[in-house]
């Protein structure tokens, strides 16, 4: 399983380098998204591109793939200078890219989706056969006639990869490929990447999961604020040293609060079921969950398995007829809306900060009113908004969470992702809620902001609150959770103590092996 021992197969290649980007500069308005970035990649090398959000990774990759043109700087392909005018030109050179967000048609089959990306006039039966061969060859099992709508996220990613492989790429660019995979699916992907590398294909691997970078990558280029800060051998680094290079300062380690005896149950779901009326939604089935005072319970799971629906059910954005299926502080409140539940001293942070957690073109102080209007320290009195009170709350959040912004009260959309997430979480934490439910607390957030947010959740629990974290980030879950449950296809596993959970066990539960995981564990891994 350990591909890290591989040496770049192309090191003896005559050309030496496959791709070289020299002194790339890309300017958007006043922002220098790439500022003199240089990157060199050999055939057969898995090269990590690391950096926080906004460091310029995507810009650089888009320039290599031809979707953007650099303001200045040159690209060299196998030692020859080239202009990559558009993605089609990149594909002609032999550059393939697997995007983080897939562009697939749900109503079409695997073969039809792939045919759309290839030149017209293909024989479909022939293509289906090729898909079968290539996917079996590289350990990416796919049924060519399957409808995309019926496939898991991991299988959809395979379609994208196979689509690239059919064009026999010399360089494969992967943008955060494991963000949507279970640990087992990720392992499978690493095997495929290892094989590609051995065959001499270069891989440019974008990720913020440092452990996996250490595991599979031969070389790493690290960007910060658009500038090249280091080129390192990930094998010689620790995850902490890589994180420090990315952030540019020491990332504060989170002080955990594990090992306390939890108190009385504050949040309970009892045999909770809810059918969805959204064709792309997920029905929740018979969910049982208890979060006690003084503990963090985490719900792990691959995106799209009912996390959003679970959040809505607890927050009261969806209400249920079965009143006693939801209990806050011991009182049945399944029929209460979100405002009534907030008055029970519960607070909620949704997954999407823009458009759900905050209104993008409202100022921060107006966004304070969004969740404080029925509670809090007099933000609304007699139906009138007290702007001074809202400003005061905003100032308090800014101070507690180190929210960086150009002016004291900018529009929410002007903040970077990490800073807006600190604001959205901070807005609830300053209320000192007894119950806090957070969906994806640090999704797409830089390491510095993530540490601050996680620490705030832990401090809240120390003060006797109950916190439920819904997250796809297993590192985060193991860092902060006292107990872990796994959601899969709308069903939730028992929440077990974190120390009893392994990555393998969570992976099996993610894949849907509920409760029987212990018995069938070994057979499922080999499947």
């Amino acid at each position: 399983m350990n591909e890290s021992a591989l040496s770049p197969a192309g090191s003896e290649n005559a050309a030496g380098t496959l791709l070289e980007a020299r002194h790339i500069v890309k300017i958007f308005g006043e922002l220098r998204a790439n500022d003199d970035v240089t990157l060199k990649l050999k055939p057969g090398e898995i090269h990590a591109l690391l950096g926080e959000n906004g460091a310029g990774k995507s810009t650089l990759v888009k320039i290599i793939y031809g979707s953007l043109q650099p303001t200045s700087g040159e690209l060299y392909w196998k030692g020859e200078p080239v202009t990559v005018a558009n993605p089609a030109a990149a594909r002609d050179l032999g550059i393939g890219m697997v995007f983080q967000h897939f562009s697939l048609f749900d109503a079409l089959t695997v073969t039809e989706n792939i045919a759309l990306a290839l030149p017209p006039g293909l024989d479909m039966a022939d293509l289906a056969a090729r898909i079968q061969t290539v996917s079996a060859d590289y350990g990416l099992p796919l049924r060519p006639d399957a409808l995309v709508a019926d496939l898991s996220v991991g299988e959809r990613q395979r379609i994208e990869i196979v689509r690239c492989l059919l064009q026999e790429p010399r360089l494969l660019i992967m943008d955060e490929p494991t963000a949507v995979l279970t640990p087992q699916e990720a392992d499978q992907l690493f095997v495929t990447l290892g094989r590609l590398a051995r065959e001499g294909c270069g891989v440019l691997y974008i990720s913020h999961r440092l452990e996996e970078v250490k595991r599979i990558c031969h070389d790493a280029t690290i960007l910060r604020h658009g500038k090249l800060v280091a080129r390192v051998d990930p094998q010689q680094e620790t995850a902490a040293s890589l994180a420090n290079l990315m952030v540019g300062s020491e990332v504060a380690a989170v002080k955990t609060a594990k090992g306390r005896a939890p108190g009385e149950p504050l949040l309970e779901l009892v045999n909770f079921s809810m059918a969805t009326d959204d064709p792309f939604g997920m029905s929740l089935k018979n969910i049982n969950l208890t979060v006690r005072a003084g503990e963090i319970v985490a719900v792990a799971g691959v995106a799209g398995n009912g996390q959003g629906e679970l959040f809505a059910a607890i927050s009261g954005e969806s209400v249920t007829a079965d009143v006693s299926a939801v209990r806050l502080s011991g009182e049945a409140c399944g029929g209460e809306n979100i405002t009534m539940r907030r008055r029970r001293n519960a607070a909620f942070v949704p997954e999407e900060r823009i458009g759900h957690g905050a209104v993008p073109n409202f100022t921060l102080s107006e966004n304070v009113v969004l969740t404080h209007h029925a509670i809090g320290e007099g933000v609304v009195r007699n139906g009138l908004i007290n702007r001074l009170a809202a400003h005061a709350v905003n100032a308090k959040i800014t101070e507690m969470f180190d929210v960086r912004k150009g002016t004291p009260d900018p529009e929410a959309r002007a903040l970077s992702g990490g800073n807006l997430q600190k604001f959205v979480v901070g807005r609830e934490v300053v209320l000192q809620p007894k119950i806090l439910v957070v969906n994806q607390p640090t999704w797409g957030v830089d390491a510095g902001a993530a540490a601050i947010i996680r620490q705030a959740l832990i401090d809240l629990v120390r003060g006797g609150s109950a916190v439920l974290v819904i997250s796809q980030d297993l590192d985060e879950i193991f860092e902060i959770a006292d107990r872990i449950a796994v959601i899969s296809r709308g069903e939730l596993s028992e929440a077990d103590p974190a120390e009893d959970m392994s990555l393998e066990r969570i992976g099996l539960l993610m894949a849907g092996a509920h409760e029987k995981a212990n018995q069938v564990g070994e057979t499922a891994t080999t499947a």
Binding site: S72, V369, G383, I385
Partner: protein, 359 residues
């Protein structure tokens, strides 16, 4: 060389105020070109159109008479559009409001008391609100597009008015003209001063102030803006989108209905087949030109009233159709929507192709 639109990180406040002024300027320039192409002296024509209406006491009074309903309706529509609720049927709500209020003088011809007028005004508002409740109910219950339903109901209302004044409500002593009995005494709005200005103008100012406070300070106004901007964030805040649809339709309908009864109990003094020169439609432009802000609507209403007077003046002095007013109003709406792009985007000129790697 090419022009590109580049997104700003925040909405530009300066541009939000500048955009209507820019739109007015472009409208005037294009208007001048249209006049010139008609063989008229563009400067004289524009002077007749935009300046003369504000040079005499008579015309200023007439301006207020025309601005009052525009402001009253436009303020209500501004609230509606802030909620992302597209009430295009204010003209119909105005008509039904006028009918409801006129039922009193038609059926109780001799009832004279201050209460007569109060009841007429209340019925006007109720009628407009009830008529606006139809598209609101259709939207909330069936998801029907309110732009279509509210617009089509305008023609229902106008045909109903037409039938009533030619049929059951026709004045028996009116020599078969399609009009109701003439209103008198407490069936008419009190006048302000000697001219034609009536207390409808005061209603408009009160509505502007009340709605400005509601939108700027109250939780209700906040709710409307949140739902209009981001319904999901509104649901997260605990606001009910359907309630906002009801509220904004009923409010704008009531104000349009009030404007309707003020027209028949004011300048007309009776019901006729044509009680409004399209105030309900022009108020849409007023709402946008006023930045969906009640105070802004006050100024925008006055400006659009000038375009009505200018149209009449142009007909008399220049011998061109008074439909020119509608041309100007249409251009103004067109340009203001175009200029609003600049609130969130800035125009940049890029010279040549961006530098690329040499081949």
């Amino acid at each position: 060389m090419k022009l590109i639109l580049e997104k700003r990180s925040e909405q530009s406040r300066a541009m939000a105020l500048l955009s209507p002024l820019l739109a007015i300027a472009i409208t005037v320039v294009i208007g001048g070109i249209i006049f010139a192409s008609l063989g008229l002296d563009p400067f004289k024509a524009l002077h007749v159109y935009f300046v003369e209406p504000v040079t005499s006491l008579w015309s200023i009074e007439e301006l207020i008479v025309k601005a009052a309903p525009l402001v009253l309706i436009g303020a209500g529509l501004a609230i509606c559009y802030s909620a992302n609720v597209w009430n295009i049927g204010a003209e119909g709500q105005l008509t039904i409001g006028a009918l409801f209020g006129s039922a009193i003088p038609v059926y109780f011809t001799t009832w004279q008391s201050p209460l007569t007028l109060v009841l007429m005004l209340v019925l006007g508002g109720v009628g407009g609100a009830l008529f606006a409740a139809i598209p609101a109910a259709l939207k909330n219950r069936f998801g029907a597009n309110e732009i279509l339903t509210s617009l089509m109901l305008v023609y229902v209302a106008q045909l109903l008015l037409d039938w009533l004044v030619r049929g059951p409500w026709r004045d028996p002593k009116g020599y078969n003209f399609p009009q109701s009995v003439p209103f008198e005494g407490w069936q008419l709005l009190p006048l302000l001063g000697e001219g034609r200005v009536h207390i409808g103008a005061i209603f408009a100012v009160i509505a502007v102030i009340a709605l400005a406070i509601m939108m700027g300070r109250s939780l209700r106004g906040f709710e409307i803006r949140v739902i209009g901007n981001s319904p999901r964030a509104g649901a997260f805040a605990g606001f009910d989108q359907k309630r906002v649809v009801w509220f904004s339709f009923l409010l704008s309908g009531a104000l349009a209905g009030l404007a309707g009864i003020c027209e028949v109990a004011g300048p007309s003094g009776e019901l006729q087949p044509n009680i409004s020169p399209g105030y309900g439609f022009t108020a849409i432009i007023v709402a946008f030109l006023g930045r969906l802000n009640p105070i802004g609507v006050l100024f925008a209403g006055i400006l659009l009233a000038i375009s009505y007077l200018g149209g009449e003046a142009a007909q008399v002095e220049l011998g061109i159709s008074d439909k020119t007013a509608q041309v100007f109003q249409g251009m103004l709406l067109f340009f203001i929507l175009a200029c609003d792009t600049l609130i969130l985007y800035r125009v940049k000129i890029v010279s040549g192709r961006p530098a690329t790697a040499k081949v």
